[in-house]
């Protein structure tokens, strides 16, 4: 299920990803209305969030449900730092650092927790952050949120923001693949597949877990900044604890432990509800049923589906490699 990207070396993948992004940047504004362009922008932000979740959940196997909290901390951190008079790059770096630091503060005391216990603890943390955003009115202006945030002056300009977001997502994607395919990625997957064995061969799994929290929190914080830049206003309901389940669903529907899966999951989960709007009041019921069906038929997620299609095409070319590939697939 993992390491699909290992098939493509970085020198092939990097131009490919950049090419796809440039193509999207040129094509999407021509074909999409202003509304759908904004959906595309939100999709890119969701991709960023799910890539972050993928680090800790997909590669690391740690059940974190706090991604929406880091999203919120990044967004509010950036907004408040900018309001305090800091220039944009400083505020951005400060917000990502803040988010990563909170990630560390959450990761360290939860080291002993596993599985559902960690899931609940991180979910409780997400709920606490949401309640603080709502109730700490002196800092966050409460449920009304904060409006007219200057950002980089591109709020509401969906076509220009598309380029900004594409650049950020491309960089984030390549960074994830680079980490996942390197020695660090091996260690992270070792932690997921057999923590005891990983420990036995000298991997400091505590440090690794905290690092996973930090890096996925940093991705979440970055997504929060992107959201502020895109919208120009924020309110706590965007970062509600329930929204964390959407990111979980995106990661699983796309395919856990696969960067491509994070992208596909976020696209499906953000775009399809918009396409189903013609069903009016039925559309969420239909969408819920679709999620169930996708998972029933493709338990390995969409990335697994796409990659097996590609493999089948390749298999037809060189059928002698067949038995080996299928055995690998079964093992996955």
């Amino acid at each position: 299920m993992t390491g699909h990207q290992a098939n493509l070396p970085m020198r092939t993948l990097a131009p490919l990803v950049i090419g796809v992004c440039v193509l999207c940047g040129i094509i999407l504004p021509r074909f999409l209305s202003v509304y759908y362009l904004q959906v595309a922008d939100v999709t890119l932000i969701n991709i960023l969030l799910v890539l972050g979740l993928n680090f800790i959940l997909g590669f690391g196997g740690q059940m974190s449900l706090a991604q929406c909290a880091f999203f919120g901390i990044g967004a509010y951190g950036f907004t408040l730092l900018q309001a305090a008079g800091m220039p944009v790059p400083v505020a951005a770096i400060g917000a990502v650092t803040l988010s990563a630091a909170v990630g560390m503060a959450l990761g360290w005391p939860t080291l002993r927790l596993k599985g559902h216990y960690l899931a609940l603890c991180t979910l409780a943390f997400a709920l606490i952050v949401e309640r603080l955003l709502v109730n700490w009115e002196g800092l966050t202006n409460g449920a009304n949120g904060i409006t007219a945030i200057p950002g980089i002056g591109l709020a509401g300009e969906n076509d220009k923001m598309l380029w900004v977001l594409l650049a950020i997502v491309a960089a984030a994607y390549l960074l994830q693949v680079w980490i996942a395919n390197g020695p660090l990625g091996l260690r992270i997957r070792g932690l997921r597949d057999d923590p005891l064995a990983a420990q036995a061969v000298g991997i400091d799994i505590s440090r690794l877990k905290i690092m996973l929290f930090v890096i996925s929190a940093a991705y979440g914080g970055l997504a929060g900044i992107c959201y502020v830049l895109l919208r120009g206003y924020i309110s706590p309901d965007v970062f509600s604890w329930q929204s964390t389940f959407s990111y979980l669903a995106m990661a699983v529907v796309g395919g856990l432990g696969s960067s491509l899966g994070a992208v596909l999951g976020a696209i499906l989960y953000t775009f399809v509800p918009e396409l189903l709007r013609f069903m009016q009041e039925y559309y969420f019921a239909v969408f819920g049923a679709m999620v169930i069906l996708v998972i029933t038929f493709f338990p390995a997620g969409l990335a697994g589906l796409v990659l097996s299609v590609f493999r089948n095409l390749r298999r037809r070319e060189k059928s002698y490699a067949r038995s080996d590939v299928t055995r690998h697939e079964r093992a996955a």
Partner: protein, 293 residues
């Protein structure tokens, strides 16, 4: 002083009893098939809507017949879930199955809005707004009804699990489904029965809390989060844990909102929860899993 204390504890226990009923559903399903059913809270909502929206408002059934009919309908629905949702997913990875239950939750909430409309419904329940006086404090009688219902359900459950062939089969299936099947237990049917029973517990919770608030499509969301918290606090997979965890969590909430701050009630309750897990990472009744190579 004493009066308010008694009041706080009773209200906390009653609210906690509702959490416990939902939490027991999580635990039973988890023990039987290793699935965390995140749609459990929406079964609470469904129970309340069927009872109030259909049986009470449409058919005007008397209350006790209403309760029994609703439990039968929801029990059948639970069995259908076992067959329609769990069965196709039984070999899927755990997280995928969890996300499927999230999809189910989304669909159920939406369907409830379509069937019963977006307006919340009112439900007087058996007692309306009757209050009782206890140790000098005044509380809604409905709170006592909830506590009594939990006690009755626990007695029934104990009898069912310990003293009937069906209960033995359910426990055997939960312990080791494969071995149970080899012993001739029809595990598929038993699992459907466990789903039906867990759904009835959730629906009963919905019927019990409905008079204290409104019946709305999102009423299950908060309840299911707190019930999940209760299962973790008590120790995941432990039946006494779910029970005690629910009651304790209810009292923490009620005491925290009275003595500290009602605005920050969630921050307090879930903060306490995280703090407890720091010191007891396996919950109150949970067993620490020893890792062997």
């Amino acid at each position: 002083m004493l009066q308010t204390f008694v009041q706080i504890v009773l209200v906390g226990l009653a609210v906690g009893a509702a959490y416990a009923l939902v939490a027991l559903g999580y635990t039973l399903i988890w023990n039987a098939v290793s699935l965390v059913n995140f749609a459990q809270g929406d079964l609470v909502m469904l129970g309340a809507f069927v009872s109030v929206g259909w049986l009470a408002n449409r058919l005007g059934m008397p209350l006790w017949l209403n309760l029994v009919t609703m439990l039968v309908i929801l029990g059948l629905f639970g069995a259908a879930l076992a067959w329609g949702i769990y069965h196709p997913l039984r070999n899927a990875p755990q997280l995928s199955a969890i996300v499927a239950t999230l999809g189910l939750s989304m669909a159920l909430q939406n369907i409830a809005v379509i069937v019963w409309g977006p307006q919340p419904l009112n439900f007087a329940g058996p007692l309306g707004t009757t209050s009782v006086h206890l140790f000098g404090s005044t509380i809604y009688a409905q709170y006592l009804v909830i506590l009594a219902a939990l006690a009755v359900m626990m007695a029934i459950q104990h009898g069912l699990f310990q003293h009937t062939a069906l209960g033995r089969a359910m426990r055997a299936t939960a312990q080791d489904a494969e071995a149970a099947r080899l012993m001739g237990i029809p595990t598929a049917r038993i699992i459907a029965f466990i789903f039906a029973y867990a759904t009835m517990l959730a629906a009963l919770a919905g019927w019990l809390v409905a008079p204290l608030s409104y019946v709305s499509s999102d009423m299950g969301v908060n309840l299911s989060l707190r019930a999940f918290a209760a299962t973790i606090l008590g120790g995941f997979g432990s039946i006494p844990g779910a029970l005690v965890g629910g009651l304790i969590f209810g009292v923490i909430e009620s005491a925290g909102s009275f003595y500290i701050s009602s605005e920050y009630i969630d921050v307090i309750a879930f903060g306490v929860l995280i703090a407890v897990l720091m010191f007891r990472p396996q919950g109150i009744f949970g067993e620490l899993e020893l890792e062997r190579p």
